[in-house]
């Protein structure tokens, strides 16, 4: 029978409410609170031998130290399987569940499962490393969460193949696999369309991504005083690509000065980008990064000043996380350099 250790915060562990949130971790024999339902769900395949209870604030304020203390507690219990929560939409609790599961997997090498709501901040921090079961936002989803967590835990402990997220009820961890369907793409797309037309429920194979919505910055009121910068994801770099910007899925950007120049000269630049035909840019880099036109507007007084470095990276086949990070870094530097507006050119 599997030896299972369960983790709860002060509230679910029965210590008390916010007033006990500073409590350090402690191990108690047998199941407690939701652990009893977990014990029922595991039935004769596992035994909840101990429950570790820790205050949310204690954990949140000392994540590394608290993790180490909890790992030591679990180590002494010879656990085969670790279950944390479910945390529902409780943020500090969710982060604690995710962090401890991650530590258990990495340091103790045993499977660990937790559960939380899609909006829990713990989700994006730990979903790559930890199976996190999707739960309701509150304790009314307890039964459903525990059923899914117990089932998934037992599969993991038995080394069985874990089915796709929609079947098992966990949040995808990001890895992508090509699998073989019983029908060709052509057969499936026609089936899908006919299903949709018949008005019966249909299941897309590709879920809609949840891209962040970005609120545009406030407009520039006094453009004739503004410092405007140029930025591109078209991969324009000085000859030799000094920052080694990758030609696809770039992880970095560069800033390149054209101080004192009214234009960009083709002999000074190359293009590090594999997603478009760059011949016209190489003939005249101003086609991508219009320094010549901006200098003209600067002379006419339409803008205050052209920032004398352009920012460049490569957008091809890139991922949102990387581009968000680069974007933030670029924005911070532009602000620090006193730039009031930026023109982005894409390809």
């Amino acid at each position: 029978m599997l030896r299972v250790v369960h983790y709860l915060n002060q509230f679910f562990g029965g210590l008390g409410g916010e007033d006990k949130a500073e409590s350090g971790p402690g191990a108690h024999e047998g199941p407690a609170g939701p652990g009893r339902a977990i014990q029922n769900a595991l039935a004769d395949r596992g035994s909840v031998v101990a429950t570790i209870v820790c205050g949310d604030n204690y954990f949140a304020e000392n994540i590394e130290k608290a993790s180490e203390e909890i790992i030591e507690l679990i180590r002494g219990l010879q656990a085969d399987l670790f279950i944390a929560g479910p945390a529902f939409d409780a943020g500090r609790y969710g982060i604690a569940c995710g962090a401890i599961c991650q530590a258990v997997i990495q340091k103790l090498g045993i499977p660990a499962v937790t559960g939380m709501h899609a909006e829990n901040p713990g989700l994006d921090l730990y979903r790559r490393d930890v199976y996190i079961v999707s739960t309701a936002d509150s304790v009314r989803g307890m039964n459903d969460a525990i059923a899914k967590m117990a089932k998934l835990s037992l599969k993991l402990a038995a080394g069985e193949k874990i089915d796709k997220p929609s079947v098992e009820g966990y949040f995808s961890r990001g890895s992508l696999a090509n699998e073989v369907s019983d029908r060709t793409g052509a057969e499936r797309v026609v089936d899908l369309l006919l299903q949709k037309l018949s008005g019966s429920p249909f299941e897309t194979e590709v879920p809609r991504p949840a891209y962040d919505r970005v609120a545009p910055a406030a407009r520039i009121d006094n453009i004739s005083q503004a410092v405007i910068a140029l930025m591109t994801d078209g991969g324009l770099v000085p000859k030799g690509n000094p920052d080694g910007i990758e030609t696809r899925t770039a992880t970095r950007f560069g800033k390149y000065s054209f101080k004192g120049q009214d234009t960009l000269y083709p002999e000074d630049y190359e293009v590090a980008h594999l997603g478009y035909d760059s011949v016209f840019v190489r003939q005249d880099p101003n086609r991508l990064t219009p320094v010549d036109t901006m200098r003209q507007l600067e002379k006419e007084g339409l803008i205050g000043k052209l920032h004398e470095e352009f920012y460049s990276t490569t957008g091809v086949a890139n991922i949102v996380e990387t581009m968000s990070r680069l974007g933030k870094q670029m924005a911070e530097q532009l602000k620090a350099e006193g730039v009031s507006g930026v023109i982005l050119t894409s390809t």
């Binding site: 992508l176 060709t184 891209y211």
Partner: protein, 433 residues
């Protein structure tokens, strides 16, 4: 419009004194074919190599694959299936050599075992795991290797390469005309105005088909649509038989789409199969994927309006071509269809997806609520280990430091010609765990 395919099954391939088919064996007069292709002044010498299924042979730098086809009973009017005049494209009889393929080898570049940073689907293994993923590894293959003539521009060479494929296609398939067919396939579909006769109760389905992406500069003179470069076209209605019978070739660099697939278009064949049973196949709308927002919108509006008001479609299947940007053009077109009341389903490869992107879990680069029915046909980054081979075709100019081309190679699916397909031939589907 009625098209009959006179299918001759090829079971072996060899060089011989006469180009002919005997007992399923295609014999080729190497010199005659070479002379025919060398008439093109954009080429120097044209080599021809053969490869058989199961052989430990690896073909590099495959730019396109075609099925040998020739029009029959045209009174000698046209020489090519892909005739310049296109007087009979989609009607009458066409001879097809099944199980045979012509591989066009682009000899402009040297080396390339390691591949560039961007994988091109340009390798065919005739055995091993790659041949399991790609049906081109299971074909009796005639590889054409034309040397570019000194001073000939890349675009001129590529246009000539495509034309050489079409010439060889007709040259080889012509010898199948006098051989009894192993199988006859008939594609018969009335005009749009007669279409619903007897099929009023069935949903009218059109296929909106991107045939070219302007991500890359189109090659002047490359025959891609009715022997012209399709670059400037507005969305256009075609009869599906015209697509099957040589109206369209895969425009370079046709990522994961070869002319062979268009000749055997999986979605068109599927719609045909179900015509009169589950649906009424209401034509094909071909369009170009543009590279700017104004044209995305313009072309989407035209194509969707055509589906709604000209074709009268209830539903549309959409596919894309090439890499990431055409995905946006496809999605925009689907959205416009939905807004006009034409229901849509899309099938796509995830060229823009990255397996590392857990947070967004994104398999599309668009996020449009109306576009809610999408079939996944896989992603290109899955790695495959290709075992060593005994000989290679199309590999020239080994670069020092590169692994030997005959050796074991690790390659992503996206490098293996025919393993992925934008037009629905494969069984692959991407699942995010």
């Amino acid at each position: 419009m009625r098209l009959e395919l006179h299918n001759v099954q090829i079971r072996d391939i060899r060089f011989g004194n006469t180009t002919r088919i005997q007992d399923g064996a295609l014999s080729i007069n190497r010199n005659e074919l070479r002379t025919l292709l060398e008439k093109d002044r954009r080429f120097g010498q044209v080599d021809i190599e053969l490869a058989r299924p199961g052989e430990k042979c690896r073909i590099f730098r495959v730019a396109d694959v075609l099925e040998p086809r020739a029009k029959m009973e045209t009174g000698g009017e046209d020489f090519l299936t892909f005739a310049e005049k296109h007087s009979s494209t989609g009607v009458g009889k066409t001879c097809a050599l099944k199980g045979a393929a012509i591989a066009l080898i682009d000899l402009r570049k040297k080396g390339g075992v390691g591949g560039g940073a961007a994988p091109r689907d340009d390798i065919i293994d005739m055995s091993g795991p790659a041949a399991e993923f790609s049906e081109y590894g299971k074909m009796f293959t005639v590889a054409l290797l034309p040397q570019p003539k000194e001073g000939v521009a890349a675009t001129e060479y590529l246009a000539a390469l495509k034309l050489a494929g079409l010439k060889a296609s007709a040259y080889l398939a012509r010898v199948g005309e006098s051989v009894p067919a192993d199988e006859t396939e008939v594609y018969d579909l009335p005009s749009l105005t007669d279409m619903a006769g007897g099929a009023e109760g069935l949903p009218k389905i059109t296929y909106i088909y991107q045939i070219l992406s302007l991500q890359y500069e189109p090659i002047p003179g490359e025959p891609t649509l009715f022997h012209r470069q399709a670059e400037g076209i507005m969305p256009t209605i075609l009869h599906p038989n015209q697509v099957l019978d040589g109206a369209i070739t895969s425009a370079f660099p046709g990522l994961n789409t070869q002319t062979y697939r268009i000749q055997n278009h999986p979605i068109i064949k599927e719609l045909y199969k179900r015509h009169g049973k589950d649906l009424c196949f209401a034509g094909v709308i071909v369009m170009v994927a543009h590279n700017n927002v104004a044209d995305f919108d313009r072309m989407a509006n035209i194509a969707a309006g055509m589906a709604k008001w000209v074709v009268g479609a209830d539903g549309a299947v959409l596919t894309k071509t090439s890499g990431g940007a055409p995905e946006l053009a496809m999605a925009r077109t689907a959205q416009r269809c939905e807004q006009l009341g034409v229901k849509t389903a899309l099938a796509m490869l995830h060229m823009g997806a990255d397996y590392k992107d857990a947070k967004f879990g994104a398999l599309t680069i668009f996020d449009i609520p109306e576009v809610d029915a999408i079939v996944s046909m896989g992603f290109p980054y899955m790695k495959l280990t290709l075992p060593p081979v005994e000989r290679t075709i199309g590999y020239v100019g080994h670069t020092p430091g590169e692994p030997p081309p005959e050796g074991e190679l690790e390659k992503p699916l996206g490098s293996l010609c025919g393993s992925l397909c934008q037009l629905g031939s494969s069984h692959l589907t991407a699942i995010r765990y």
